[in-house]
């Protein structure tokens, strides 16, 4: 496998070339050095990595996690980084008007992020032809690896306009996916209700889950409508359940499992489990996995005379 250092170099070269040749006006990638750092200080803040009891006075440290950066000048390509802390799914920026205003974009994607591109195009939110996708061959992110990385089938991006990293040797892991979900679904409904009641009690309605999700692109979310009020804005039990269940349903058969919602939640609620359970149902009942096959017709917005009707009584 190519070392991350070399991939970073190739990513920067690619970015430089694209901008110098005028192929794109902005490259959306991960990075952190430069403007968003004072001249004498280190880059982004360390993630939450703390010493154990064995070393009570060891200083806090950690590799800075790269943050989303928007490179518009070739000389800024140096800011780009690629490593196993490139968590963010950058495709979320493709539907934001401030970013669209910058012009034609190149976006750096891992295989999981790339699935968003497939769905976004199916839903007419992006024009795939006017977007330049740079795929990164990925061995997983996070230390320890994020749950979503176990059993990943898309280590090598499949539809990128160019891919960086060695494709050989990047075999899919055979580890079973979503063991936490299996554990949850093995519980009784009453136990699961109690689980989510406890989790949602911490929700403050910050909507980080929504804002970080590439597929939550509605100009005016149903939670923000007040004529009538469909979902109470309060961070109460009722308001929180209403929000999270509605959002999960609005993502049913669309969510590609990037896990950004869980990562973004400041209260540590494992929101992705809700989406995963609906993704499982989608696969079992409709044989459909969002973002995997660009030719597959989405579950919603399509019908055929062969659709089963045995649930109509």
């Amino acid at each position: 496998m190519t070392e991350p250092g070399a991939m970073t170099q190739r990513l920067r070269e690619t970015c430089r070339r694209l901008l110098e040749e005028g192929k794109v006006q902005v490259v959306i990638g991960w990075g952190g050095a430069g403007r968003l750092a004072s001249p004498t200080q280190a880059e982004s803040p360390a993630p939450l990595s703390f010493p154990t009891q064995a070393e009570p006075h060891a200083p806090l440290s950690g590799t800075p996690a790269p943050r989303p950066v928007f490179i518009t000048r070739a000389e800024d390509a140096e800011k780009l980084e690629w490593n196993d802390r490139c968590f963010a799914n950058l495709t979320v920026y493709l539907t934001r008007k401030e970013v669209k205003a910058l012009g034609k974009a190149a976006v750096v994607v891992k295989g999981c992020d790339e699935r968003s591109l497939v769905v976004l195009e199916k839903e007419s939110q992006i024009e795939r032809g006017s977007l330049h996708a740079i795929g990164m061959v990925c061995e997983g992110v996070g230390t320890p690896r994020e749950a979503k990385c176990a059993g990943c089938e898309v280590r090598v991006p499949r539809f990128a306009d160019e891919t960086i990293g060695e494709a050989e040797g990047a075999a899919a892991s055979a580890t079973a996916v979503a063991s936490r979900l299996d554990g949850l679904m093995a519980k009784s409904p009453a136990e699961r209700w109690a689980f989510w009641t406890a989790e949602f009690a911490r929700c403050v309605k910050c909507y980080a889950c929504r804002q970080v999700c590439p597929l939550c692109y509605c100009e005016r979310c149903i939670a923000d409508k007040n004529r009538p009020v469909a979902i109470e804005t309060s961070a109460s039990a009722r308001g929180n359940f209403a929000w999270h269940i509605t959002r999960a349903f609005h993502l049913a058969a669309r969510c590609i499992g990037c896990g950004e919602c869980s990562r973004a939640c400041p209260a540590g609620i494992p929101l992705g489990l809700l989406n995963q359970s609906l993704a499982q149902a989608t696969e079992e009942d409709f044989g459909y996995r969002p973002g995997m096959d660009p030719k597959a017709e989405p579950v919603f917005g399509n019908w055929s005379p062969a659709d089963k009707e045995d649930f109509i009584r």
């Binding site: 803040p45 920026y93 109470e232």
Partner: protein, 339 residues
């Protein structure tokens, strides 16, 4: 009675307060993070001087969702009734100094000409026992806003982790003395805290004269417009008021709100003075480092770093301020400021 308290005794004290019917809040382990929460039992509390909870203690004085009054609709008449106030005493223990220091800052706005009785009543009932910091991370910047890892602002008493399972306690106010009696440890050798990461005065000066600046667009592209920063911030206090109920009546509530949401300033007419994210990010910086200081002589920030740590895009105020300080330094170099 020693001013040195072993952690077990601290636990017993907390259990005693809970047993006496007081509300007690402390950092609690939730997955891989600490969160301030109301304790069901003393053994939930985590007293770790090297970690910072991912939320703040403001919610014990300024809840995320607070009923203001009830209304009943009877034909064409309305009946209003007060919500029964919380009477129980409240203790927050293990607060970081950057959380405690937020309270005197919030006192200023909640008492400005009109007293917000909901906040002041809780404030009066609350005792804050902070835990001085034994470490910091790269997101911390308390020293850049005039505070420090052992600053006593807002604390009624302060605990110092001696590193061996024991804590030294110092009472700071009468409320603190009421809880700990005459225990008064000598403070350990002061820790310097993080290196200052920007010059607050220089930044305030620059901000005040650069309301319109291309920097805002450039620095804030990564901002996704969620409320993670505002809601985990010890000093952010913007709120919304909504009616929740049905045709028979309901309750008017005060809910946290964030200036980063697109609809925050949307007029019913459709006009939105802050229709794009750079304007909203600018507002956040301005409110904290220009508006609040101009009005109340206090920066609306304690340098806790929660915004930076919780932002999905890593874009807390620190990131933006460091960039602005860099710009301000460049500008001062070109046009030196007359002192």
């Amino acid at each position: 009675m020693s001013a040195i308290i072993p952690v077990a005794e601290l636990g017993e004290l907390v259990a005693g307060w809970i047993g006496a019917g007081k509300l007690v809040a402390a950092p609690v382990a939730v997955g891989d993070r600490l969160l301030y929460q109301q304790l069901a039992s003393a053994d939930q509390a985590v007293f770790d001087a090297r970690r910072r909870p991912a939320n703040s203690i403001k919610e014990f004085l300024f809840p995320r969702h607070e009923p203001l009054f009830r209304y009943r609709i009877e034909g064409r008449g309305i009946e209003l009734s007060e919500v029964a106030p919380e009477e129980r005493e409240q203790i927050v223990i293990g607060a970081k100094p950057c959380d405690a220091a937020a309270l005197p800052i919030l006192d200023l706005v909640f008492n400005w000409d009109f007293e917000d009785g909901f906040y002041t009543a809780r404030r009066a009932r609350t005792t804050v026992i902070s835990l001085a910091c034994a470490a910091e991370d790269e997101a911390c910047f308390c020293t850049s806003v005039g505070l420090g890892p052992e600053d006593e602002a807002g604390s009624d008493a302060m605990l110092f982790d001696l590193g061996d399972g024991r804590f030294a306690v110092r009472a700071v106010t009468e409320k603190g003395k009421a809880l700990f009696g005459e225990r008064q440890a000598e403070p350990p050798a002061p820790r310097p805290g993080p290196e200052p990461k920007f010059d607050a005065a220089r930044v305030g000066r620059y901000l005040a004269s650069h309301f319109e600046s291309p920097l805002w667009k450039e620095l804030t592209l990564a901002c996704l417009g969620c409320g993670a920063c505002a809601y985990t911030c010890p000093t952010c206090h913007c709120f919304d008021m909504v009616d929740e109920g049905n045709a028979a009546g309901g309750v008017r509530v005060k809910n946290w709100d964030s200036c980063q949401f697109p609809l925050f300033t949307l007029h019913a007419s459709g006009h939105n003075p802050r229709s794009v994210q750079p304007q909203r990010q600018r507002q956040r910086l301005f409110h904290k480092f220009v508006t609040y200081p101009q009005k109340f002589n206090a920066v609306l920030c304690t340098g806790c770093g929660n915004c930076e740590r919780n932002c999905p895009a890593g874009l807390g105020v620190l990131a933006v301020l460091k960039a602005i300080d860099g710009e301000a330094m460049n500008q001062d170099a070109k046009e030196p400021v007359q002192a």
